[in-house]
């Protein structure tokens, strides 16, 4: 597998910079990870990190509302941002000769967002975000599953207990003062990683980065990271049933597991693919094709780093199949893998699928930049991008069974079942 080139630099104000040059196409990706996500939100302020992300597109000292989008698009670029539990990222991909435009835009809002903030803009984006919540959660079949799952897997008060989208009530309460505080606390160069990947000249890019980001002062009093401590296991079996506007019942299972970046997480990542990736996966072969008790099956791990991560799956029942039958069939497959372990063929299959997946991901400079930012922000190790396949091939059968036996226990399991509303009443 070709190696992704990596050059690291550190500005005096603490901004971590990663460069990855690749001149094959005349394109450049700019990606910023701020080390702030919904886990940093205080009680009563759920959803604020994400609402704040929206405010970052409402202009800054030298950029009008809407101009961030219009300048990048007029340059032939694409852009967006996203917020999750651990972080907030902002990114642009554009023709290489427009690199400095993206750097200038990112630096302007990192340096001077607040002069552009108004109550009117906050009210507007609050409405937009509430509609985002209605669209993705409240008006969507099964839409509340991840919010409910987080609340069940993590105890009240834990930073992962609440969802990134937040509650309507807390969104309503967000004020301009919150915007000012949040910006002053978290949006500083020493709390961010800047990655540039693609077609650029290294000296020129470094000079531009220094010119635009160098003058931005560090925040000398960054808060200590939130306390993410949580027991390794739930300690009891947890069940909840939700009556929803869904035609078919669906079971979601989740378990607390070791965090992203650990060897055990890698083993569970491999296990998730053995169970859920492709038509030869254990759950598809057994539940969907052979027993025909499930309409679909999906298995995944959460790449999050605070205290404990999650190993989760869902299976949707075929009409006429009882929830008990589907759950028993699903657990039987988990138990079979945990007790007998994967075969050599299982490991060969998922390793080869994963290798193709990684190569596909790294074809896109935007994805390369995002992963370099991620590995730097979360672990201070951008070189992990070149270990994506070797970390997988290093996982043997014993590591898979050990990890499954340690985590996929009944007393560490949340079972969340969606049933059609009319059937429940």
């Amino acid at each position: 597998m070709a190696q992704v080139p990596i050059q690291r630099h550190l500005l005096d104000n603490g901004l971590r910079v990663v460069l990855s040059r690749d001149p094959r196409a005349p394109l450049v990706a700019v990606n910023l990870w701020y080390d702030v996500g919904s886990k940093h939100e205080k009680a009563g302020k759920t959803g604020f990190a994400h609402l704040f992300e929206h405010m970052m597109f409402q202009g800054s000292a030298n950029v009008e509302k809407g101009q961030h989008f219009s300048l990048v698009q007029a340059a032939g670029g694409t852009l967006n941002a996203s917020t999750w539990l651990d972080r907030t990222n902002y990114f642009e991909t554009l023709p290489g000769h427009e690199l400095e435009l993206a750097l200038w835009l990112e630096a302007d809002r990192m340096a001077s967002l607040l002069p552009a903030m108004t109550q009117e803009k906050l009210d507007n984006q609050r409405d937009v975000v509430k509609n985002e919540r209605r669209w993705s959660v409240d008006n969507q079949p099964y839409g509340s599953w991840d919010e409910k799952m987080q609340a069940l897997v993590y105890p009240v008060g834990h930073p992962y207990h609440h969802s990134t989208i937040g509650s309507m009530e807390d969104l309503s309460a967000a004020s301009l003062e919150d915007v000012q505080d949040f910006f002053a606390t978290w949006y500083a160069p020493n709390n961010a990683v800047l990655t540039v990947a693609g077609d650029f000249e290294t000296d020129e890019a470094l000079a531009m980065i220094e010119r635009h980001f160098g003058p931005i002062p560090a925040n000398a009093s960054l808060p200590a990271p939130p306390d993410m401590t949580v027991d390794a296991l739930l300690g009891e079996e947890v069940r909840e049933t939700v009556a929803d506007q869904v035609p078919l019942p669906r079971i979601y299972l989740a378990h607390r597991i070791p965090v992203f970046g650990t060897d055990a997480f890698d083993a569970l990542d491999v296990a998730a693919d053995i169970l859920g990736a492709g038509r030869a996966s254990r759950l598809y072969a057994s539940l969907v094709r052979e027993q025909q008790v499930a309409q679909d099956a999906s298995v995944f791990v959460f790449p999050i780093v605070g205290g404990a991560s999650m190993f989760a799956l869902w299976v949707t029942a075929r009409p006429g199949v009882s929830i008990e039958t589907l759950e028993a069939a699903t657990l039987a497959e988990l138990d079979r893998l945990a007790s007998k372990g994967p075969s050599d063929a299982d490991l060969e299959r998922v390793n080869n699928l994963h290798a193709a997946h990684v190569a596909g991901m790294l074809e896109r400079i935007s994805e390369r930049a995002d992963r370099l930012s991620m590995y730097t922000c979360l672990f201070d190790q951008p070189e992990r991008i070149n270990e994506e396949t070797s970390r997988w091939t290093a996982v043997d059968a014993a590591r898979v069974t050990d990890a499954l036996r340690a985590s996929l226990r009944p007393e560490n399991r949340v079972t969340l079942t969606y049933v059609p509303a009319e059937a429940a009443s």
Binding site: A25, P26, L27, A61, N62, G66, F69, S70, L71, Q73, A74, A75, G76, G77, T78, L94, P95, G96, E98, A111, D123, N124, Q125, R126, D127, V128, V129, K130, N131, E132, R134, W135, D138, P141, D199, M208, R211, V246, P247, L248, G278, R279, A280, A285, V288, R289, Q295, T316, R318, P319, E348, R349, N352, L353, A356, A359, G360, E363, R364, I365
Partner: protein, 447 residues
């Protein structure tokens, strides 16, 4: 603060060169060698989309395409999945209105093994009765699921309501439950035997190949593929009725899914480029009129957009948004207002330039991946577009002026004939929609 930087000099970009030939059996071969890539993408297209099925068996094209990946005469479903995935290959097979597509993206070293399996799948599929029954019931279940999802329900309902009764496009290409229910494996076998043949097929290979190796592999695995298939049906879509409002009741909805539109253009319409620029300006980019007004000014929605869906025959033009229930009527008025505005006045040059520059500038980004490049060849194969389509693409966009956009809007955007479709809570919406006078209202009860 430093003022906005001036862009450097652009580096030129050319769509990669490709080679097109036809084998003796009629199979079209398109090779795009990209020597600096690790991956290879193979797309095998056949004129076996929904336009090639008859309405009585609507859905058979989609089910046949899906059934292909459930094994070959030699390998059953389990063995076929195991064999391909152990090579790191996930074979896809699906169909749309205008073609069926089977293929995969894999490491370049897997080209020959992967192509052998893909050819085996197309030429000697197992078409197993048990697997057919399973996929058919999964499809029926998916229809159930789609009707619970407000966005999918709105998409499906819009097609049903906007096209006249006998127009095939009045449904999703995967069929309706009534016709899917009646399908059998015999129909799938007959559809495969009739419509999968080299004279109506094209293979596109883009990525880590040398043309000689790729050609030899294609000859080896598909050179002796035999058979002749008929071509697709032709039809000319007609719209149902004029301006009207259809409310699909979905009790308890906290948002209304809006779909507003009418018939649009086909793939060969001479107004293709003005139409694309106009749709982008109206609702195709973040800074478009619909999104700026409904989202960034009014906060009614997370996003509003508009687009054409040009097919071999005339496809729909749709403007859409999901808006909170309370503002449904106002949001429809705003949306219609933008359709009227783009007809009434020619856009100012800066607004047009921004959109056009985006479409021109973003061009190379679409071709970053081998699968993106293979997909770009598809319209050349399926619609017989000129081979220099992508070489001329940016120039074609650059020549679109404000008067061209205005003319396209006057001809192609017709709010007076628009279907206004709403999926939402009728108990909260019916009276307001009746009072609004947006057109005759029909309420479809919840199912």
């Amino acid at each position: 603060m430093i003022t906005r930087p001036v862009a450097g000099a652009p580096r030129p970009y050319r769509f990669p060169d490709f080679d097109h030939q036809r084998l003796d059996n009629g199979l079209g071969v398109w090779l795009v060698p990209l020597p600096d890539r690790e991956l290879v993408s193979i797309h095998l297209l056949t004129d076996a989309g929904a336009a090639s099925e008859d309405e009585e068996h609507a859905g058979i094209a989609a089910l046949t395409a899906q059934l292909l990946v459930t094994g070959t005469e030699r390998l059953d479903a389990s063995a076929f999945a195991e064999t391909t995935e152990r090579l790191g290959i996930e074979v896809g097979s699906e169909s749309s209105w205008d073609s069926a597509r089977a293929g995969f993206t894999a490491l370049g070293s897997k080209l020959d093994d992967g192509l052998a399996l893909l050819a085996e799948m197309l030429r000697t599929p197992r078409l197993d009765p048990g697997e057919f029954d399973r996929l058919k019931s999964e499809r029926l279940n998916d229809i159930l699921q789609a009707r619970a999802d407000p966005g999918r329900l709105a998409d499906e309902s819009f097609l049903r309501e906007v096209f006249a009764d006998d127009v095939p496009y009045g449904r999703v290409s995967a069929g309706r439950p009534e016709t899917v229910e009646a399908l059998t494996v015999e129909y799938a076998r007959a559809f495969h035997a009739t419509h999968y043949a080299p004279n109506v097929a094209d293979i596109i290979i883009a990525g880590a190949i040398t043309p000689d190796d790729a050609r030899a592999a294609i000859e080896r695995h598909l050179g002796d593929w035999e058979g002749t298939a008929p071509t697709h049906r032709t039809f000319e879509p007609v719209q149902r009725g004029g301006r009207r409002v259809v409310l699909i009741d979905r009790p308890g909805s906290v948002q209304s899914e809006l779909r507003v539109g009418h018939l649009g253009i086909n793939r060969h319409d001479p107004r293709y480029f003005p139409a694309m620029v106009m749709a982008a300006l109206l609702g195709g980019v973040f800074g478009s009129r619909l999104n700026l007004r409904l989202r960034e000014e009014l906060g009614y929605t997370y996003g509003a957009r508009s687009s054409f869906d040009p097919r071999r025959a005339t496809g729909p033009f749709i403007a859409s948004a999901a808006v909170q229930t309370e503002v449904t009527v106002d949001a429809i008025r705003e949306l219609i207002g933008q359709l009227e505005r783009i007809r009434e006045r020619q856009p100012e040059e800066p607004e047009l330039a921004e959109v056009r520059d985006f479409l021109v500038g973003v061009f190379p980004l679409r071709f970053e991946t081998t699968s993106g490049i293979a997909s770009a060849i598809e319209p050349l194969a399926v619609y017989d577009q000129r081979h220099d389509w992508w070489q001329r693409y940016r120039a074609n966009l650059e020549t679109v002026g404000a008067s061209d956009v205005h003319r396209a809007a006057r001809e192609l955007v017709r709010p007076d004939e628009a279907l206004i479709l709403v999926v939402g809570d009728a108990s909260a919406l019916r009276a307001d929609l009746e009072a609004a006078g947006l057109g005759p209202l029909e309420v479809v009860p919840a199912t």
